[in-house]
Symmetry: none
Subunit: 159 residues, 2 copies
Amino acid sequence: MLGAAVSVFLSTFENKVDRKGRVSVPSSFRNVLSQQKSTGIILYPSFKHPCLEGSGDERIQEIVSSIDAIDVFSDEAENLQTILADAKQVSVDSDGRVILPHEFVVHAGISDLASFVGLGKSFQIWSPKNFSIHRQKNRLRAREQGATLRIISSSSERT
Amino acid sequence: MLGAAVSVFLSTFENKVDRKGRVSVPSSFRNVLSQQKSTGIILYPSFKHPCLEGSGDERIQEIVSSIDAIDVFSDEAENLQTILADAKQVSVDSDGRVILPHEFVVHAGISDLASFVGLGKSFQIWSPKNFSIHRQKNRLRAREQGATLRIISSSSERT
DNA sequence: GGAGAATATATGGAATTTTATGGTTCTGCA
DNA sequence: TGCAGAACCATAAAATTCCATATATTCTCC
C-alpha cells in the first residue's frame, strides 16, 4: 500500500470514465472510506458549483438525524430533505470503481474524465475542465484577499 | 442484494404506472422496507402538497403515539387523526409493485408516471411534473437560506 | 545495487443477475 | 357473470459480478 494512509480525503486525481459511466475511486480515497467503515459513497449535486459532492455514507445518518431534530413540517426540514431526494448511494465494486449516475454526469459536465478532489472530510468530483477554471478562480481570490487560515489545533489528532 | 444499502429512503426514482394503476416500488426502497420488516406500505395524501406520503407500516404506530401525546381536542390531534382516517395500506406484490388507490392517484395528479422521492425515514410519491416544480422551489430556497449547508457542515465538523 | 518476482492500480470487456414493465390467467365477490 | 385484485409468466434494459490486461510500484534475494 502507498505511503502512510491519512484519514482525510487529500489531493486531486484524474481518472477515466468508461462508456458505462464507471470510474475508479482513487485508491487513497478508498482507504479513507474503509477507515470510516463506509459500505458505499454518497453523492449529490452541489448547490453552488457544477460538480458532485461526495462522502462516506455515514454522513447520511447525520442528515437524517438533523431532520429528526427539527419540526417535520418546517421549511428547514424540507431543505434537508432536498438533499436526501437528490442524493444517491453508489457502491464501490470489487475493482474499486463506482458508476456515476447519468443525471450526475450531466450536472457536472463530465464526459470521459473525472477529477476527484479531496476536501478533507469530503470530496468533490468535477470535469477536469470545469475544475481547472474553478481552481484558478479560487487561487486568484485567495491571493487578492490574502486568505489566512486559522488552524484549530486539537491534541487528539495525530502528531 | 448487495451494497448493504443505507437503511433510509434515498434519492428519487421515476417509474411507470400501467393502466391498472400498478407501479414498481424502487428496489432500494423495497430493501429499506424489508429491513424494517414491513409487510406493506402505508400511504396517505399529504395535506401540505399534492403528493402522497409513504412509509413502512410501523410508522403508523409512531403517529398513533404522537396523537396520544398531545391534547385530544387540539387542531394538531385532528390533523394527525385525519392522516389515520385517510391512510391506506397497500401490499407489495411478488414483482415489487403496488397498486395506487384511485383517490390517491387523483390527489397527486399522477397519470402514467410516478416519482418516488426518498426523505430518510419516509418517502413521497409525486407526479413528475409537480415534483420538478416543488424541487426547484426547494432548491432555490435552500440555497438562499443556506440553512441546509450550515446544518450539514456543523454536524460533520465532528472528528 | 539491481534483476526479477510479487503487488497494487487503473481500465476494458464479457458474463450473469436484477429490475422494471407489459401481458395473461385465476379467483373471490358483488 | 363481470369485474377488481392477486398471482403468474415473459422479456428487455440496466446494473452487478467476474475475468483479463497494462502499467506502475514495492519487495526480495543474490
